[in-house]
């Protein structure tokens, strides 16, 4: 993933080398996360940086989350209505929409949207700083670059992801109401009653935990890719930033879905 150029190897040796790199990079990423976490409260100045990141990651994502949440809810409402109608169970539309969103689609789609919007930006920003020696400049000024650049983003991600997920869920339920009730003639009272009757605290908690984990994953992966842009073996300079950004987004999305499966098995 992020290593210098290497000589040609046989396919088996390449597989072995790739496996070793995967394990090594996973360990490096975990240590990177530990360091970033430890430095969140390293100085009073971090608070101002965290607030700035809250605005960038959270506030500026609200419009895209609203849009995606609304259309996701509307599509689920539409699809679920016709599916439930086959069983004469249209009355359960509210519960179906709400549970789908809160347990699964809300955390996953929110995380993927923020990865595309803010995650790619984190990778590109730190990657450009790396290749233009700004990260080295921080080090020689005796300012820890992980603490300065990554920790505020990590703290903001931990705060923003659950809030944006909750917002996505609410907007999605409104979207489901729009199609299921207003457009397709479902019962208004039954829609909300079923949500209340079938939604449990464990569903909300599970979704919350997922969004937290996704926030940590996205921030760690995207910042890690940007931080080590200069060690990429597939490109140098601006092209390396571009490759790192792509790798950050793709890896984040894969890990979101992978961890989603693991968390779903454990939580539900």
């Amino acid at each position: 993933m992020i290593h210098g150029r290497r000589p040609q190897l046989s396919p088996v040796a390449q597989l072995g080398a790739a496996s070793l790199r995967l394990v090594g990079d996973s360990g490096a990423m975990f240590l990177f996360l530990l360091e970033a976490s430890a430095r969140i409260f390293s100085s009073f100045g971090q608070f101002a940086k965290i607030v700035r990141q809250l605005y960038f990651i959270g506030v500026k994502s609200v419009s895209v989350i609203t849009l995606i949440g609304l259309f996701t809810g509307m599509v689920i409402g539409l699809q679920m209505h016709y599916a439930l109608a086959k069983f004469g169970a249209e009355g359960f539309l509210g519960a179906a929409v709400a549970l789908s969103l809160v347990r699964e689609l809300g955390p996953v789609l929110t995380a993927i949207m923020i990865t595309g919007r803010a995650g790619s930006s984190m990778t590109a920003e730190i990657g450009v700083m790396r290749i233009s020696e700004q990260v080295d400049a921080l080090r020689v000024m005796d300012i820890n670059p992980v603490g300065y650049l990554v920790s505020p983003k990590l703290a903001a991600s931990i705060l923003c992801f659950p809030i944006l997920t909750a917002f996505f869920d609410l907007v999605g339920m409104a979207g489901g109401y729009l199609t299921g009730v207003l457009l397709l003639g479902g019962n208004h009272g039954v829609y909300f009653y079923r949500i209340q009757a079938y939604m449990k605290m464990s569903d909300v908690t599970g979704g919350f935990i997922k969004s937290l984990v996704f926030g940590v994953v996205v921030c760690t992966v995207c910042c890690f890719m940007g931080f080590y842009t200069h060690l990429r073996r597939d490109a140098v300079g601006p092209e390396a930033v571009s490759q790192a950004t792509t790798a950050g987004v793709v890896t984040s999305c894969v890990l979101i879905l992978l961890s989603d499966y693991v968390l779903t098995s454990l939580l539900f």
Partner: protein, 277 residues
């Protein structure tokens, strides 16, 4: 840690490189305190690599680096933190943080490492920017400035903690001759006013002649010259003479072996539009 006002920099048996690959080996050089040492050499010879090792950005492959009385390899974490706070660095393109204004960039070390209040920090920042002629640009962002202005701002940031050690990586690269001469003049004034030990990495011979007290020339993976400027100018070494006199190496075979590209090979016939025969 003892206060060395103008520390020497001693490189002893030093080998620098990346990973297991050595770039320059067996460096035995003393850069005298209170003077300007210029590290010269061709492109890719390892000048910036050597500088990164002195700045503790990379560990050496062999040998040791002493700054004043401190062996970098034996310094503990706190010692390294303290030493870094006594170093100022000007990177090749300034390396200013793009999201901060000039004033905030220069103030950054003060905000992170001192207990000074904002008013005092602001005064110091404007004083350092005035030193480099940029006091009216403190609210500008780096992308709003020219390359020369960014370098000067980088120098102001490197100077803001009044360090006894200043390192400059190719300070005049990409600058026009007048601006380059002004930067050289500024470095000389800083040395005189602040009694600093300066290390300048450069391949600019005019700059070297203007500012160097001590010169180190790198090439072929080793130190080719280590001494004063006058000794370098008087050298009879063939490579060094060619380097100083800007003479290309003699070739036994011609470089250009193919005829010029025939315009008839072009996909678009531009002769109709440009009136060429």
């Amino acid at each position: 840690m003892a206060q060395d006002k103008t520390p020497d920099i001693l490189l002893e048996g030093l080998t620098v490189g990346y990973g297991k690959t050595a770039v320059v080996s067996d460096i035995d050089v003393t850069m005298p305190g209170g003077k300007i040492s210029v590290i010269l050499g061709g492109s890719g010879c390892g000048k910036s690599t050597l500088l990164k090792h002195i700045l503790m950005l990379q560990p050496p492959l062999a040998g040791r680096i002493m700054i004043g009385s401190h062996d970098l390899a034996l310094l503990d974490r706190r010692g390294k933190h303290c030493l870094r706070q006594r170093m100022g660095v000007l990177f090749q393109d300034g390396a200013l943080l793009g999201s901060l204004t000039l004033g905030d960039n220069v103030a950054l070390p003060l905000r992170e490492h001192t207990r000074l209040d904002e008013k005092t920090i602001r005064k110091r920042v404007l004083a350092k920017l005035a030193l480099v002629g940029l006091d009216e640009f403190s609210d500008y962002y780096p992308n709003e400035l020219s390359g020369g202005m960014r370098k000067r701002a980088g120098l102001a940031r490197g100077m803001v903690m009044d360090p006894p050690l200043l390192f400059c990586d190719e300070p005049t690269s990409g600058l026009d001759p007048v601006t380059a001469a002004e930067l050289d003049q500024l470095l000389l004034e800083l040395k005189k006013s602040f009694e600093m030990t300066m290390v300048v990495v450069s391949h600019d011979l005019d700059s070297m002649r203007a500012i160097a007290d001590h010169v180190v020339v790198l090439g072929d993976g080793k130190v080719l010259y280590n001494g004063d400027r006058e000794g370098l100018e008087a050298t009879k070494d063939e490579y060094l003479r060619r380097f100083l006199d800007r003479q290309a190496a003699e070739r036994t075979s011609p470089r250009l072996t193919m005829p010029a590209l025939d315009f008839k090979a072009m996909k678009r016939d531009c002769s109709k539009y440009l009136g060429e025969g």
